[in-house]
Symmetry: C2
């Protein structure tokens, strides 16, 4: 029985797993990305990590059917190229697929990290009973992945599903992408911290005033009743509802999946998101769409990368 | 050689054509919708109009392969039902397909009007060389239709591609749908007139002040240098650019097609739209997408309805 490896490359850590054809993680490995040392170094670390996870699991590298690598950024799928990655400095036109294939002697498929997470949830997570769904990954940025009729939506130049860059407030807050008013500028962990600072600077009363804090701290303070934190967290839910409403009016999916650090906010937060969608979306579109947290959580990218590669090996077509 | 009929039902007029399998209109017919007299009356008029166009073309009703009917509103495709139509009063759960089939004795396929327009442009209009595209129909409202991988995107409950109801300005102008900040609330012909009135009421200098005027009048005044009209028309182009940018970041299409009354604004208007997309969208997504006017214009719905029915008759699958 052949197995698969899924790599989930982040700006800080690279995580990987030896994954069965059913999406079960048989062994795991993680290591710092050391992104500052440049693409060649990171590619060598990725290959070494694949060897390490195989060795730790007692599997021969030659027994791997195929390797799936999920990376943040804009890809050229057919060429196996990372065109550009905002979170990995110096990554422009990096031949990730070919370099890893050469190093490992195994076939490699490259995917965008949020697309891989969507595919993981679709194949064996919360979305395994649906055919049309999307995911929003809430972290430093807001990533997106779309499954339509059982396939990843890549678009005509592999830049589909950049859902964090839907503009929901034209002329609004500056976004890292250079535009303004993107969903990411309101609903990412970074935006959460930034907007909380702004609200405190504008005279808002908060236990967080004068402190360094993270997005998680803001959510904890909100749960404890801190007025500024509460307002910011509520607004994040509302902006997510806007983004989901837009997806309902574009693709009318069966499921919207949220994942990332904000999962800790649990049911009250996602319930506010659902209520926002209920107010803003067409009733028939809202009724068709479950809004729920990811069940694979931080493993979705690993599993999705492995299974996207598995699907390619099995069908000869992109997942 | 069998032919097809495409019906494009509007709130004011119903237009139809006898259409060849290649999308050529062989004969045309139009009549007032008389929507105020209710759904049963309109259905009888639609059936009569099909008979009329056949008679005028010297074609036997029995020689029609199939009839395609494009209607504004939310459908249930599988049931051939108009669930709800904001532009046709009293249309709730109207069995358009079955009633027309019974009346005409020919098979009927029901489609949303903007979806049909997108399909018409895809099959034999400006989009005939692409596989992934969408249309924005700029009229009383803003309609949308999406073609992905050569098929209409209907979504899980036939409410996909309601592109006029993407929220581009959260908390912004009230929209007819009951929500706020929708693209339609900024970029429809109705919004154009409403916003021009507001700008004049707020003290803007305009030759239109104190007059009754249409969207077309605003565009004519803008072309003549009227400052208020110019500003409104520029803002419509900018909001359309926001909507198109969002579609680029969701679906990464090869083509965005604009159609409707604003086509008269020609190249300068669409060039401003392109420039806006160039500023806001990911370079790789913008580079992949042509932004252009429809070539079928007001015939896209007729042709698209006929060819969607043709595709269904040929393949047994929705177009």
């Amino acid at each position: 029985m052949k197995n698969y490896v899924g790599i989930d490359l982040g700006g800080t850590n690279l995580k990987l797993g030896l994954v069965s054809a059913e999406g079960r993680i048989l062994a795991r490995h993680s290591a710092p990305t050391e992104a500052a040392r440049g693409p060649e170094h990171v590619l060598a670390r990725m290959a070494q990590a694949v060897r390490d996870v195989c060795r730790e699991a007692g599997t021969d590298l030659g027994d791997l059917a195929i390797v799936g690598a999920a990376v943040p950024g804009i890809l050229n799928w057919a060429e196996g190229l990372v065109v550009f990655s905002p979170n990995l400095s110096g990554w422009r036109n990096i031949r990730v697929r070919d370099e890893l294939q050469k190093d490992l002697g195994r076939p490699v498929v490259l995917e965008n990290d949020a697309n891989a997470a969507a595919y993981g949830e679709f194949r064996c997570g919360v979305g395994r009973t649906v055919r049309n769904m999307f995911i929003l990954t809430l972290g430093t940025g807001v990533g997106g992945g779309i499954i339509y009729d059982g396939h990843m939506v890549r678009g005509s130049s592999d830049t589909a599903a950049e859902l964090g860059h839907m503009i929901v407030q034209y002329g609004g807050r500056p976004c890292n992408c250079g535009s303004r008013g993107c969903l990411e500028a309101y609903a990412s962990a970074t935006a959460c911290v930034g907007r909380t600072h702004e609200a405190i600077d504008a005279g808002g009363t908060s236990a967080l005033a004068g402190k360094e804090f993270t997005c998680k701290d803001v959510f904890v303070a909100a749960a404890a009743g801190d007025p500024v934190a509460r307002k910011i967290v509520d607004e994040i839910a509302d902006y997510l509802a806007v983004g989901i409403t837009n997806m309902l009016h574009v693709m009318n999916p069966e499921m919207a999946v949220l994942t990332g650090g904000m999962m800790g906010a649990g049911e009250p937060f996602i319930e506010r998101v659902r209520q926002g969608v209920g107010r803003m979306a067409y009733e028939r579109a809202a009724a068709a769409c479950q809004i729920c947290w990811s069940t694979l959580g931080g493993d979705a990218g690993i599993i999705g990368a492995a299974l996207a590669a598995e699907a390619f090996a099995r069908t000869g077509q992109p997942a």
